[in-house]
Symmetry: C2
Subunit: 438 residues, 2 copies
């Protein structure tokens, strides 16, 4: 078995065996197969695909390139959520405290912003002092005592995925269903969870913009999860417009605080309760998803989720006082308002355009070595379906980079489409999928 | 313009512009684009192809990554031949002296053995002292004074191709028509030739085994050549059985000596005269290809080609005395004969199997750093279409590696298929192509 033969086989559209995939991944991770051979294989996988069995083998090879956490000492069904990424998607930060408050352990390993989309880790790190780099033992300890712990991918978790991800990012091989699926599922399975709720985004702001591809990704993810013995369900949800009213790390944390105080915007809360309610059901704390959603809403209303959030932040060295008085956070040097040029109804806000504008404002990285300006971003005052009058503020942008303001105002305002007649808010939740209906 | 964007474009099946191809090739050659990005692009080209225009742009980018020889100081039409490679294909070594003897300058840059196929350079180097590494000035001087010079690819000639070829060889991206075409044509155009005869092999021992693919390759090569202002014609010829009776470097030189003394086997001489006759015609030394073939045969018969060969070898520091008494060359430590197990007619000898067996005997490299045993190889006593009687020697193998003999005997004898009834020799020359009939 050689790297050459394996590349040739996939190049010719054949299926790879478990042994071939393991051989390639292991030897790549340890440096015996070179980057240039891996990138040839990645392009062949991108163009010729992988069947369900190969995707499982690939997930397995990623998973066993590192350690798998054993959370058996923690009682209860451990449940996590994963979103395929979008703009303004701060759901994890609201949902983790809710689900933990329901008594379900939430071991959550999140990622950083990528391209136009934000990352939970970056948002959490905008909280002064918040740490995401705990050891395995510390992670398990916090999970046990606090009920949830939100960290980044450690070097012990699926190192093959980490190395391959960096290579995909520079070889135009990111948007491949089997590669995305193995990357997501290996990390989630490595967390030691028992069940997983997937939020597969679809639309212009998602990595899979077509509904058909999002559906295929969701199916692949569920098959891999179930095969690994994890209860796995997925929702396909809308990512045409940003979720909530803010895009940008600290702006989103402030919005999460509002949400946890039960003052969140409808779209964001609809998705959050759906996902947290499903986690509560899978965690065995409700009889149905509907009951889970009711419990989720209750835990928000009675303040338990907010208290739980403060405990999580405190345990992870974050500045809790700041969360109670977020107005003391440093402000961006520049703010720019954009008023509505005429009366009308907001039809849509192009999430991709807003996400890339936010990166330019400083909220994301243009190169992997860039520093993030946590204060930077955009706040919207209207959501799709809402009525605006001429002169109403549509959005405010926040940045320290004065020179980018005219371009960003132009780009974000152009991303907003309006209608002279009333439009209804977009449908947010498209499909529910589990092993019974894929 | 970034490497990432260019990879994405080809990944999505779009055509690349001249600027994009030049940007990628130049930056790769100078090390600003990494191997792993080039290999992703190579796999995307392999799987999504390139149109004629892109192939020309790629050839041009390869060509201008290095120097283009200016042979204008040498009078006459400079003509070369290129074969896409096969087993026992020693035609260049016989044809170069014939065509030079006709008064046509032959500037020939050849390659080494690759996989199961032999290489003209390795064969020439089996002649004691023969040098293939002259400078540009020395090459032009020898071409001027001797009439032909046979060298290897210098580092000034198409360095992009050299670097990319090495990468293709380890990333399973060799057999791609646009990549093969650009590699061949950039080197040939860089030689400073005016006309080119292509021998595109088809069959089990060729790199393009299907006739359809060989035809497509020939068409692409002709289009690129004509576009570059070079008269370019091609023959598609058979490479199912080895050409001639020997496979292995020194064994093939000995066979070339026989050929140059007008005692060569029919199949080999048929191909040689066809190609040399066509070169003579393109070089303006005959009124038609048929007349060129007659002149080729005449130059062999009257000894001019043999004298010319000795002059070439002498000018390139080869041991001319040895060519006159080849029996003084060192012999392999081991010889093994294989007698015919029964009466019959030889139907075919699988060139691919024979080529790979010859490599195992020591005649080729299994890894690029391997040393070649010039003495090693196989001599056949029968050609397809000939009658054998039980007990007649079918072939002899030559090697210094005793342990490989049983396996090689088995492999080569299994490569020979026989028939109980008479069969005709295979058709060797399939198609003639030039700009008027592609």
């Amino acid at each position: 078995m050689t790297a050459y033969e394996i590349i040739s086989k996939k190049r010719d559209g054949l299926s790879l065996s478990a042994e071939e995939i393991k051989f390639f991944i292991n030897n790549y991770t340890t440096g015996r197969i070179a980057d240039y051979q891996m990138s040839a294989l990645l392009m062949a996988i991108f163009l010729n695909g992988m069947d369900d069995q190969e995707s499982r083998f690939l997930t397995d090879a990623y998973l066993h390139s590192g350690q798998v956490l054993d959370l058996s000492e923690i009682p209860g069904i451990k449940v996590d959520k994963h979103s395929t990424g979008g703009v303004g998607d701060k759901v994890s930060i609201i949902l983790a405290p809710i689900v933990a408050a329901a008594g379900i352990p939430v071991p959550m390993i999140s990622g950083r912003g990528l391209g136009h989309s934000g990352g939970t880790l970056d948002k959490l790190e905008s909280i002064t002092g918040f740490r995401i780099d705990y050891t395995r033992k510390e992670f398990i300890d916090k999970l046990k005592t606090v009920g949830a712990c939100l960290i980044g991918q450690t070097k012990e978790i699926a190192p093959a995925d980490k190395k391959i991800y960096a290579l995909r990012d520079v070889t135009a091989t990111v948007q491949s269903i089997p590669l995305i699926a193995a990357s997501i599922m290996s990390k989630k399975i490595a967390e030691g969870i028992d069940a997983l709720v997937l939020d597969v985004k679809t639309g212009v702001g998602a990595f899979m913009s077509s509904y058909e591809k999002s559906l295929n990704l969701a199916r692949t993810l569920i098959r891999i999860g179930e095969e690994a013995g994890k209860k796995t369900v997925a929702y396909i949800t809308d990512m045409n417009s940003p979720l909530g009213r803010t895009v940008g790390n600290w702006l989103e944390i402030v919005e999460c605080i509002d949400c946890l105080k039960n003052k969140g915007p409808n779209d964001l809360m609809e998705i959050t309760h759906l996902l947290s309610g499903t986690m509560i059901y899978l965690g065995g704390k409700s009889e149905s998803i509907e009951d889970g959603i009711s419990l989720s809403k209750h835990l928000l209303k009675d303040g338990s989720a907010w208290e739980q959030f403060l405990r999580i932040v405190d345990a992870q060295d974050g500045d809790v006082a700041l969360l109670k008085e977020p107005e003391f956070y440093a402000e961006s040097e520049f703010k720019a308002d954009f008023p509505a040029p005429e009366d009308g109804w907001i039809k849509s806000i192009n999430a991709f355009e807003v996400g890339t504008a936010a990166v330019l404002l400083g909220a994301g990285r243009q190169r992997s070595e860039d520093m993030i300006d946590y204060k930077a971003g955009v706040r919207f005052y209207f959501k799709p379906g809402e009525k605006v009058n001429k002169g109403d503020l549509l959005f405010t942008l926040y940045t320290d980079k004065k020179e980018i303001i005219p371009f960003a105002l132009e780009k974000i305002s152009a991303a907003i489409t309006t209608s002279p007649v009333a439009v209804s808010p977009p449908r947010l939740i498209h499909t529910y999928l589990d092993k019974t209906n894929i």
